[in-house]
Each structure stands twice: as structure tokens, then as C-alpha cells.
Subunit: 346 residues, 2 copies
DNA sequence: ACCGATTCGGAATAGGCTTTCCCTCTAGGC
DNA sequence: GCCTAGAGGGAAAGCCTATTCCGAATCGGT
């Protein structure tokens, strides 16, 4: 059977012909321009469009009016609840503005991120939102800045999520202060000896949280023994592995394990459980992010809340705001320590 | 300060001029057409492009060659791990094919789904993948079919996920059989009296799972008392609420609560725990989907595994396969009962 | 009844790119 | 050395829509 030739989608031209009007009139009828068109004609055009199942070609529209209505969102891993919650906020806010969201996933790879941004530029999105995986690795960093600058130079808006210090609009999550507050709260709960599970050395988020936590402890004269700081991937499995590694070094005197994010904390809890260690009886655990499932694990996870959906929403709002034209606006979102059963007072 | 006029992005034209070659040559150099271009010229073009920070305009390309390279993905709720895992699979597979993914969220609203599909058509995506929220509500259903048919009629590929019976390519998850197998397995574990938490009546997925579960029990002469089937939203909070409602009716003799999906099951577990009921000591729980966190809650959740990421991958593969041209191909994915601590043998 | 001011349909153009078609130039065959 | 073929650059057509510019028709005022 020969590949049956698909009819091409109806074009505005087809609609105009079908309705017996000019292209201009058809266009004006269908997307209510400044110019009015006689209601008679309008109806005819609308009817013709319906009859032909017409759907406007966004690409053509984009090219004709020189701007698209898409928001490009870059995340590390959409299956990670941290990112999917932010994405949910971005999508909701974008749709409310009549914008379409395109999404790309870096798989936590800076190189890939650069490629993606480069490719995404081709879409001529109104806004590009980058979240996660910012690293201090300066090589890709520089190239990324170049690329983003080229984008903003041509009118694009860039918003970074949770990555301070770059010359772009940013929704800032105060990882440092949040972690410090958490440390204080945990000390107040009676904890004294800590271990930490952290992400790759180059990950800014991971660094900030660890630094904040350490500084918070330092206020009380407490330090984390270097052997008790274990690196792992920034994922559930990374947390599981890191906790396992930590176990190997002996955890007898440790009161509480702080994981720099919730998914790691949850992985760690599973690892501890499998090793026959009771949480929080033997060791308490705390995370960061307050992802949805943090309250559903047992014991419920002590963490630092970030209003993730809101972060997404704010990112869109920031991108669209007039003040953001300058490109170095910062919006801060508040974090909040949430004490739950995984770190009872002792 | 006057809004500084942004320079327009460099066009292919600019690149050609900068390189001192024709438009055609520039185009050919940059995206390797069938025609070869002298390496000398090529280099000149590439250099010019780099110098100008050129990025091809996808809209223009799309319009010029009459086809885009985007995949449109429609999900109910991206923050739900079921959908985000599928999305991860879709995105990975799409990116491997050089396709861009655009995503839209229905918020579980059929009307919204229809609107979105209508809008998405305007993107002229190569592929449209719809997942979730299929309902038997025939009104929107008919309109949706019309819209999708118009799309396929013009060469677009449609793939439905987990929604049999519609005249489109489908990745079929055998909800019915999976649930039946689960019921059998649970009876084998020694459970005899069941309650169920289910989604909206019109949700096909929910219906199929409940029916399969009921039929599985029926094989052993067991029926679920109608009062013990509670409807709730297809979400964590829905599960929490439904379980709370169930508690009000008294659960003394119930051995196990089956929730038609994992997020509901996890919500239910939290509700039971808050009510002071021990899981699985007092009541066992089982879910469906095997989302990542199912293994991390305590007790780990008994469920039916669906290879979610793979489902997404398969959807893309199916859409791109030649055999899918007919538009009613079905790919089945296997489900697998996973017994965990939430339903120990008794 | 006539003139200027609106209103509104239509033709034409623009917008960035791909691709066909034409034509020149070079290499190879005899 | 001449002719043919093939390689490859360039001009131009075309993809689909929005919009500007024109001109015709209508309306109101006097």
C-alpha cells in the first residue's frame, strides 16, 4: 500500500478562499486585530475555518509577527519532585499568560545544559528559565553566559532559579540561610553530633546548603567531622549510596544525618532502615526542599520548606515583569524550617 | 531610560553577507544538505555564524520545510510522579531523536484537555502524546476525537497512553489484568476482606483497575462490600480524604485497603497513620503504578509495577514507527505485581 | 446635493528559511 | 584539444501569516 498522501493542513489561504474573502480579512476575523471586520464576513470566515478544521500555524504566526509565545524551561530531571513541582508552577503561570512551555532535560550534565540552551535559542522563546545543575565549573559556565547573553541581547528574557551571582534575573532560594536555620533548630532539639550527605563538589546548591548548615552548627561550637561528610549523586539513589558509605565508617555517635536535599534524605532513610537502623530512634534524619513526599514517608521528614510551585510561578512573573529588562533582578523566596518526626526533640 | 532597542537576532541572511556567500550556500553549510559545499566556504560560513552568534530560527525552518520537530505531550499533572516519570521517558526518547518536547497540563480537566489539543495543533507537532485523564464522558470525547482525527488526517501522529478503544495508536497498560493479578496475589497472602479507594467514576483507568481487582477477588468468591468502596480525587490528597471517609464508616474487619493508584495509597497510609492505625499491623495497603516513592515509604508499598519511563519511551517509538501510520496500533506493556511490606503474608 | 472623514475589504509586502532550478566552471574521457 | 558530465554557487520561488497601504464605499454635516 502506497503511503497515502496526507492532505496538507488547511491554511489561512484555504479558509479565505472557502469564505470568499481576502487573506487579510480572514486573518483579521480569526484573531481579532485592531481593525474591525464586518460581522457578516467574520461569521463566514469562522464557519469556513470550522468546516476546514483550520488551525493557525504558530510557526508562521511567529515569523510574521516576529515573536513567539513560548517559554523554554530547562530542568535537570523532570522525574525528580523538586523539578517537577517547579515545572508545575512554571506551566501553570505560563498557561495563564497564554504561553506555551517547552521543556528540556539536562540529566544533570552541564555540557548537555549548554547544548540545550544553544538549541533552545532557536525557538526564539520569549523566556528561558534555567533551574538546577548550576555548577562552578567555569568552562561551561563561561560558554553558557555567552549564550544566554546573546539571547538577552536580542530581547529574550532569562530567569535562573536558585543561582545567585550570575548576571541574569534570578529567583533566589536562600539555601544558605535555610540550612543555617535548620542547623539551629536541630541543635535546639538537642542534637549534637552530625553527619552530612552532600552532592557533587561543584554544585552550588549543595555547597551553599552544606555551608549554611555547618555555619549554623558552628554558632553552637559544633563541627561536623570531615569523615562524616559523604558525597553522592543529588538523587534518591545517591542518598542511598552515600548513607551506605557512611554506615561503613561507623555511625555510633552520630545523632542526626543531614542530607542536602529531600530525595537524598529519603534514599538515606531507606538505606538506614535496610541496615536495621531505626530512624529516628537510633539516628535522626533531616533533608531540604520539602517535597510532597517528605510528609508521607515514615517518620515524616524534617526539612526546609521551599515553596516550589511558587518558585516556578515567580520565575515566570519575573521574566515577564518590566523591571526585569535590566536582566539582573532578584526575587527572594522565603524558606522555612519544618520539624517533623524524623528529628524529635531528645 | 528609554527601553533600549534590542538588536534583532542575526539571520541567515546576515551570516551569508558576513561570510560573503549566498543565502543558499549559507543554509547548506549550516545544516548539511544533500548538496555539498566547498570546505572553504563552509568554514567561512561557520566562522561567520559563530562570530554573529547565529542561531537558526526554528519557526522559519518549520515553515520553510513544512514540518517541525516537536513532540507535544499532554499530561494531567506534572507534579504527579506517575506523569513525571512518563514525561521523563518521553523527553529522553524525543531528545534522542532530535525532537523538542512541549508540554501542557490539563489539571485533570477534560474540557481543558480539549482546549489544549486544539491549541497544540497549531504547533504542527510531529507527534502528540496524550496521557491520563481519559474519561468516558462522551461529550468532550467526541470533540476530542474530531480534533485528533483532523490532526492525523494531516500527517500528525497521535499516541494515547493507557487508553484503549480509541481509534489511535495506544500504549496499553493492562490495568485490568494487573489489578486482577494483584487481587490474586493478595488473596494468596491470606487477605480476605477488602476495601477500595477509587477515582472519579468516569476515569477509565480507575474503573479498569477496580474492575480487575474485583474480578480477581471474585475468583476466590470474595466481594468488596459496596460501602467499602470510596471515591476520591486521583491524587495524594484524594487518597487521604477517601481513607478518612472510609475510617468514618468503620474498618474493623477490613484486612486490606486497595487504592487504585500509588499516590492515593500513600495518602491513605498517611491518613491511617494519623488515625493511629498501624499499617500493616492493623490494616494492609496496596496501590498501583509502582512510582519511585512506593519503595521509600514505610512500610514499603505493595503495588503493581508499570515501567513508566519505558511507557514514555515506547510512546515516542510507536509514534515514529512506520507501522503506526494506520493510527490504531497498540503496544502493550507488561505489569508486574510487587509485594512489599505493606501487605505481609498473614 | 456635495464634500470631507471614516470604515473596512483587498492587494501587496515582509519575515527567515529551504529548495529547486539555472548556470558556470572544472575535471575527465577519447 | 574538444566535448560531456558533474560539482557546486547563486537567484528566486515558495511556505504561512500579519500588516501596511490603497482605494472604494458609506456616513454625517451643511
Amino acid at each position: 500500500m502506497p503511503a497515502l498522501p496526507h492532505a496538507a493542513p488547511a491554511t489561512l489561504h484555504d479558509v479565505a478562499r472557502e469564505a470568499g474573502v481576502s487573506l487579510a480579512t480572514a486573518s483579521r476575523s480569526l484573531n481579532g486585530s485592531a481593525r474591525k471586520v464586518n460581522d457578516d464576513y467574520r461569521q463566514r470566515v469562522l464557519a469556513a475555518a470550522a468546516r476546514l478544521n483550520y488551525s493557525p500555524n504558530f510557526s508562521a504566526q511567529a515569523i510574521a509577527k516576529g515573536s513567539t509565545s513560548t517559554v523554554a524551561l530547562v530542568v535537570s530531571d523532570i522525574a525528580d519532585p523538586y523539578f517537577s513541582s517547579i515545572a508545575a508552577g512554571v506551566i501553570r503561570a505560563a498557561e495563564a499568560e497564554g504561553l506555551i512551555v517547552t521543556m528540556a532535560v539536562t540529566e544533570r550534565n552541564p555540557e548537555r545544559e549548554l547544548e540545550l540552551v544553544r538549541a533552545l535559542r532557536g525557538q526564539r522563546p520569549r523566556v528561558m528559565i534555567l533551574t538546577g545543575s548550576r555548577s562552578v565549573d567555569s568552562e561551561h559556565q563561561a560558554a553558557l553566559i555567552t549564550e544566554l547573553t546573546a539571547f538577552t541581547a536580542t530581547g529574550g528574557r532569562v530567569v535562573l532559579i536558585s543561582q545567585e551571582g550570575l548576571p541574569f534575573n534570578t529567583v533566589v532560594v536562600d539555601n544558605y540561610l535555610g540550612a543555617r536555620a535548620l542547623a539551629n533548630a536541630l541543635v535546639a532539639q538537642g542534637y549534637r553530633t552530625f553527619a552530612a550527605l552532600t552532592g557533587a563538589e561543584t554544585l552550588v546548591t549543595s555547597r551553599d546548603r552544606l555551608a549554611g548548615f555547618a555555619d549554623g552548627l558552628a554558632e553552637h561550637g559544633i563541627a561536623i567531622h570531615p569523615d562524616r561528610v559523604v558525597r553522592g549523586e543529588f538523587t534518591r539513589d545517591g542518598g542511598f549510596a552515600a548513607a551506605t558509605e557512611l554506615l561503613a565508617t561507623g555511625l555510633e555517635q552520630v545523632d542526626l544525618v543531614f542530607a542536602v536535599n529531600d530525595v537524598m534524605a529519603i534514599g538515606a532513610m531507606s538505606a538506614l532502615r535496610e541496615a536495621g537502623i531505626d530512624v529516628p530512634g537510633d539516628i535522626a534524619v533531616a533533608g531540604f526542599d520539602d517535597i510532597d513526599t517528605a510528609r508521607d514517608v515514615t517518620p515524616a521528614l524534617t526539612t526546609v520548606n521551599i515553596p516550589l510551585t511558587d518558585v516556578g510561578r515567580q520565575a515566570v512573573a519575573l521574566a515577564l515583569s518590566d523591571t526585569a529588562r535590566t536582566g539582573d533582578e532578584a526575587v527572594r523566596v522565603a524558606t522555612r524550617v519544618i520539624l517533623r518526626a524524623s528529628s524529635p526533640a531528645r
